[in-house]
Amino acid sequence: MKTTRIVEAVLFASETPLTAAEIARASGDLSAKDVEQAIGELCHEYEAEDRSVQIYPLGDGYQILTRPEYAPYLERFDSITRTNKLSRAALETLAIVAYRQPVSRLEVEEVRGVSAAGVLRNLYERGLIEVVDRAEGLGRPLLYGTTKRFLDHFGLRAVDDLPKPENLEIALRTEG
């Protein structure tokens, strides 16, 4: 059985991103490296054949997803997983958590100038942030960080994929 086909079958059957190491579990003869190579070949193949799906890197894993141009056709179907867009408060809070992690509620509130308890709880319940540690000091406040699901939600491979603050247009404006 060809490696590409085995990898394709596994990716096809999964509803969540799988890492190369996880996919390699499909067969005792497979290494994570074999899987990475097979994924590269499959990507080319899907591209060449103009398929409606492609393999996308998400977090440290991969998942087969439909291409963006087919989104309008799928919109017409009822979906249980239709994504609820996050509010601006949620996005700003996530931005702070992503860049400053591990970060406490107090730090988030200092940056945004508003209470953060409700937003943090909401993000936690959606699985976008998690408690990663406790700070030293009074009350040993919880410290938050982003999750794998955060990367998946935004289609990122890693938190480092986010633009560096110094590369943001805004930074140029303040220096000018």
């Binding site: 096809f12 059957a13 999964s14 509803e15 969540t16 996308y56 998942q63 087969i64 997803l65 439909t66 291409r67 963006p68 087919y70 989104a71 799928l74 179907f77 009822d78 979906s79 249980i80 997983t81 994504t83 867009k85 996050l86 601006r88 408060a89 996005l91 700003e92 996530l94 931005a95 702070i96 992503a98 860049y99 200092e110 940056v111 945004r112 100038g113 508003v114 209470s115 998946d152 939600h153 935004f154 289609g155 990122l156 986010l162 633009p163 603050p165 943001l168 247009e169 805004i170 930074a171 303040t174």
Partner: protein
Amino acid sequence: MRLPTPVTSQAVEESDRFLVDLERFQGPLDLLLHLIRSQDVDIFDIPIADITGQFIAAIENVEERLTLERAGEFLEMAATLVRIKAQMLLPRRDDLLDDADPRSELVRRLIEYEVFREVAYTLADAEADRALHRGKGYVEPRTLPKSSELPLELTIEEFLEIALSLPAPLEKRPHRAPVLPVTVDEKIELWYKALKRKARVQFGKFIGRWKTRVHAVMSFLACLELAKRGRVVLRQDRPFSTLWVYPSEDDEDS
């Protein structure tokens, strides 16, 4: 909750242009940044008097629509602005360093917040882009049978084999009330013994010899019984402080 509005008449007129829907803003920093950026003023040299007036005017008009918590956040910023404005009016000493500008901390916060506000826009774009990619299971199933309705694939042999492989059951912990190993009378005897040698005995020390709760309870009941009989005096200065057990004065006679 009325605000003091020490605003120049010019600022009040100006502020009409900035009547804004506060719901649009994430908080006082967001509103302040909007006022500064929309007028193209230098963030490092904020015209604090004007901006303060505009800020207060903006929140005054919608004050009653905000929840107390949100209103408090905006009011706190208004107070900060007023304070900075007052400090700016004080004569500056020559030897004052640049960073002693009363606005500098506010500027730092504004720039920091603006960076994250920008990142949030980047995230919103990323989110929208990701949402165009649909995974397996996106289209809602017609009738997804609940797993409790699917036939189970398990034979009694398989089940028993697993059961057999489990470690031997631990001894079932008895759930009935334990037979009391100690009695109040026994504890009364021990109290007599302990008090014979000492002027007073610490209750905690007395019961510390036994691990189980029943000993503590019986010892305490014994204490109460002895107190009732007038054989001991119990003393505790404050709730939860050390409980001391004294032999009664006339106990020596008995």
